[in-house]
Structure formats: structure tokens, C-alpha cells
């Protein structure tokens, strides 16, 4: 059986019927940012309990955490796309869920430490809010990774899930744990530091789609990867899980794998440029 996974270049969100954005939890970043820009100033400035230095530390932490989250979500999407067989995708999901669980445990422990420090007075209100803002950003990443993992898992055959030890009920539990991180006030803490957009994906992010037949496809904006592979050695991985974004179907008789990344040189006239004149070093500047 031949499987084909194609990762298309998309600079806009696709409009598939069952589309789960890996990064943005369904919110349009530009709209969120427009609102957040206004709220950030109001929230932070109005909150006299946060000193400028404390707020600055929170901004640094959240900014870095958000980019790291974006990287992780896109990396997950790429891994799914690069592994065409159901078993391989199930292994990717299993690994991702283990990582998400560890991340949630770390966030829970960090939250407890912060609560204790805040309560015993060793941490100021502003320091506490700044640290919790970072927790909020990382929580958003964990939640989205759990959601996208679940989306992929639901498109995979049970045999593949069983083989990788992926438990859909356990994913639901992870969702609940992630939602509880930071308590009910964590979003408010984050707003007081960076505005309303803490932890929200920074762009039109990778999307995992599952159609009515259980076919999984992934789209990562800004990336062109062709990954063709068969299910060799993986024959029982589920004929109902053929991964396709281009309508191809295979007979399973050939074994080929091809993956490439294209970084195209371009200039859009507004100062943005992409240089990709070497194999290992590329630079993009707005």
C-alpha cells in the first residue's frame, strides 16, 4: 500500500471542514493582536501592583515562550507530515503526548512554587504575575499540542494507536489538566503583564486536518515539503488512514521516501526579504 503525504505551502489559513489549527486555537492572530495592542497598555498601566521592571521580565519571558511554543507546534505538524504511515504517525503522537504530559507536570510544579512564594511574601505581586504570565503562555502551548495530537489520533486506526500506546481517554485527561494549570486567575495575571494575547499563536499556524474518511493532512504556513512514503513494513497500519492532500492514491507496491525543504529567496517590496543562499544558514529580516 502506498501512502502519500504532501505538505503544501499555504500563506493563509486553509478552510477545510475539520480543521484544527495547531497554533492559534481557532483565533485569528491579526484580530487578536489588534485587540491586544489596545488592551496591553490599559491593563498593564492600570495595574499599579506591577513595577516596570517586573513587567519587563514578564514580557521577555512570555515573548520567548510564545516563539518556543510556535516552534513546537510547527515541529509536530512537520513530523506528522514527514511520517506517512499510520504507525509512524501514531508514534509521533505518542511522543508528543508524553512531552505534553511532562510539560504539564512541570507547569503544575512551577505554579505551586510560585503560589507558595507569593503567599509567604518572598515574591512580590508583580513578580508573581510576571512569572504566571509565562506559565499562561506555556499552558496555551500545551493545550494546543494536546488538541492537535488528539485530532491526529482520532484519524488513526485503533491498531496503530494500540501499538503506540496512545489512549484517547488519557488525552482528554491531559486536556483537563492543562486547562486547570494556573487556576482561574492565570489569564488575568497574563493580561496584566502583556495584554490579552499571551500565549496565542503568533501567526497563521500549522493545521492538522482529518476528513470524513480519516485521512490526515498537515499544512504548515511558509513551508514546502514533499514527503512521499509507502507503508512498507507497516502493512497493517490502516488502509483507512491514507494521508493525502493532493488526491493521489497508491498501490502500496513501491517504497520511496522523499523529503525536502524549500526556502525561497523573495522580496515583497515592504522591506521583508528572505535569503537562502546557503544550505545551512538562512536569514530572514522584516
Amino acid at each position: 500500500m502506498r501512502r502519500t503525504t504532501t505538505l503544501m505551502v499555504l500563506l493563509a489559513l486553509i478552510t477545510a471542514t475539520v480543521a484544527v489549527p495547531v497554533g492559534a486555537a481557532g483565533q485569528a492572530p491579526a484580530q487578536v493582536d489588534a485587540t491586544a495592542d489596545a488592551q496591553a497598555n490599559a491593563n498593564a498601566s492600570a495595574n499599579s501592583s506591577v513595577a516596570p521592571g517586573e513587567q519587563m521580565a514578564g514580557v521577555v519571558g512570555v515573548t520567548e515562550a510564545e516563539f518556543e511554543g510556535e516552534m513546537q507546534e510547527r515541529t509536530f505538524g512537520v513530523r506528522i507530515a514527514q511520517n506517512a504511515s499510520a504507525n509512524a504517525q501514531s508514534e509521533v503522537v505518542a511522543g508528543q503526548l508524553a512531552d505534553v504530559e511532562q510539560r504539564i507536570e512541570e507547569l503544575e510544579q512551577r505554579e505551586q512554587r510560585l503560589e507558595r512564594a507569593h503567599e509567604n511574601g518572598s515574591m512580590t505581586e508583580g513578580e508573581f504575575r510576571a512569572e504566571m504570565a509565562v506559565v499562561a503562555a506555556e499552558k496555551q502551548t500545551a493545550t494546543r499540542l494536546a488538541a492537535s495530537s488528539e485530532t491526529v489520533a482520532r484519524g488513526l486506526p485503533q491498531t496503530a494507536l494500540d501499538r503506540s500506546g496512545v489512549d484517547l481517554d488519557a488525552i482528554a485527561t491531559l486536556h483537563e489538566r492543562a486547562a486547570a494549570v494556573g487556576g482561574e486567575n492565570v489569564s488575568a495575571y497574563a493580561r496584566s503583564i502583556v495584554g490579552a494575547d499571551a500565549g496565542i499563536g503568533i501567526g497563521p499556524t500549522a493545521q492538522v486536518d482529518v476528513d470524513a474518511d480519516g485521512n490526515v493532512s498537515v499544512d504548515v504556513p511558509g513551508l514546502s515539503i514533499g514527503a512521499d512514503a509507502d507503508a512498507s513494513g507497516d502493512a497493517d497500519a490502516g488502509a483507512d488512514n491514507e494521508t493525502s492532500a493532493d488526491g493521489e492514491s497508491g498501490d502500496g507496491s513501491t517504497a520511496e521516501a522523499d523529503s525536502e525543504t524549500e526556502v525561497s529567496a523573495e522580496s515583497d517590496g515592504d522591506g521583508a526579504s528572505v535569503d537562502a543562499d546557503s544550505e545551512t544558514n538562512t536569514t530572514t529580516e522584516l
Partner: protein
């Protein structure tokens, strides 16, 4: 010295040796084009500054490199990241303005985000112009907020004086100082921070004893390496 420390030291030595400062209104520092986590504040003679946050990410797998490449190519994501960075710093600036007798601000149109792949490390630099960050008192430049009010840095904090200026006083004590740079190590509390700069003698001799360029490179390299390990090995 390990290969990691040698690489870090070389990168920072190159960065510190450049000595140039971004011109007014240009949020693209030339001083900080190293590939180590840091927060660099490049002060200009008029009190404005360029604030650059550098973060690094592991690119050890093909999937991670592809993900980073996708962000390099994703103009919308980079624009959002740029806008957020400027908006958040502007919020801090407004907060800080209430503690100093001048209006600070961070214009959205003077910010930028760059992504660079350096082998197995992805380097992201957020830069923004910060108006009136330093107080101008005759020929002196004084930096306090937004660092004096309990800013704890998780990465080396580097203050860069305008060309021809020198650091004449700093609280807390700097961990390393070059001709126009002063560095505080990761983990330092900058509560009560104050740094004063004045036009110096030709030749730019160190104004605070005990720190030369060599010491600066060694100290910053060690601090940066620690921060790098923490970020890349969570």
C-alpha cells in the same frame, strides 16, 4: 576551555569588538549580532535606545529546522511577533513613564524581528526603538527604568553606551565591561539599577577598574552559555 565556551567567547568577542551603535530611529543594532541569549540596550546620545532581545532554539532535527524555516518564510507570523514585541514594550514604557519625569514610548513602526539559522541553533532577535529610555542630564546619560524596579534578568544584560561615551557609574556592579559595553550576568537582580555614561577621553579607556575586554568576553561567555543551556535543555 570547552569547544562550547570557545565558540561563545569568539562570538561575543566579535560582537563586542564591532563597537558601532545603531543610528537614531533604527531598531537594528549592529552591536548585538551574536547568537547567544541576551538583552541588549544600546543607548544613543539623545537618550533613545534600541532594545534587543535575543533568544535561541534547538534545531537539531530536520523537523525543527523545517519548522524554523517555515517561520522565516511566514511574513504574517513575523509581523505579528514584531507588533506584539513593540506593543508590549510600549506598555512597559508607559508604566515606567510614571516613575520618571519623561515620557517613554516604543513606536510600533520602529521594531523588527529577525530569524537566523546558525547550524543547529535558531537565533531570533527582537529589536525596538525605545524613546527617552535614558535621562539626558547635561552631557550625562542616566539609565534607570524599566530595570530599576525589580527587573531580574534570566540572560546576560548588556548596556551599550553611545560611541565615545564611557560608563562612569553603575549599580549594581557590572560583571564585565568593555570600551562601550557593560554586562550583568544572567540571574542578576537589577533592582535599584542605575547606570551613568559620559563622553570619555579619546581612546575610551575603561572607567571602572578591574574589567577589560578580555574579562568582559570571558564573563559574558560563561553567563551566556549557562542561559543557552537552560533554554535549549529545558
Amino acid at each position: 576551555m570547552s569547544s562550547t565556551h570557545r565558540a561563545v567567547a569568539l562570538a561575543l568577542a566579535a560582537a563586542l569588538a564591532i563597537g558601532a551603535v545603531a543610528g537614531p530611529g533604527v531598531a537594528k543594532p549592529t552591536q548585538n549580532e551574536n547568537d547567544e541569549p541576551s538583552l541588549v540596550v544600546e543607548v544613543q546620545e539623545d537618550g533613545d535606545a534600541v532594545v534587543t532581545l535575543t533568544a535561541t532554539y534547538d534545531l537539531t532535527s530536520e523537523a525543527e529546522r523545517d519548522a524554523f524555516a517555515s517561520l522565516q518564510n511566514d511574513e504574517s507570523a513575523r509581523e505579528n511577533a514584531t507588533r506584539r514585541y513593540a506593543a508590549r514594550l510600549d506598555s512597559v514604557a508607559q508604566n515606567a513613564s510614571e516613575r520618571v519625569e519623561r515620557e517613554m514610548r516604543v513606536p510600533a513602526d520602529e521594531a523588527s524581528v529577525s530569524l537566523e539559522e546558525r547550524g543547529d541553533v535558531g537565533v531570533v532577535r527582537y529589536s525596538a526603538a525605545w524613546k527617552n529610555l535614558a535621562a539626558v542630564e547635561d552631557d550625562r546619560l542616566v539609565v534607570t527604568e524599566p530595570f530599576a524596579s525589580n527587573y531580574g534578568t534570566d540572560r546576560p544584560f548588556v548596556l551599550v553606551a553611545p560611541d565615545g561615551y564611557e560608563l562612569t557609574g553603575a549599580t549594581p556592579s557590572v560583571d564585565a565591561e568593555g570600551e562601550t559595553t557593560a554586562t550583568w550576568d544572567a540571574g542578576t537582580s537589577l533592582d535599584g539599577f542605575e547606570a551613568t555614561m559620559k563622553p570619555g577621553d579619546a581612546g575610551g579607556a575603561d572607567s571602572l577598574p578591574g574589567f577589560g575586554v578580555g574579562a568582559a568576553v570571558a564573563s559574558v561567555a560563561g553567563a551566556a552559555a549557562l542561559a543557552l543551556r537552560r533554554r535549549r535543555s529545558p
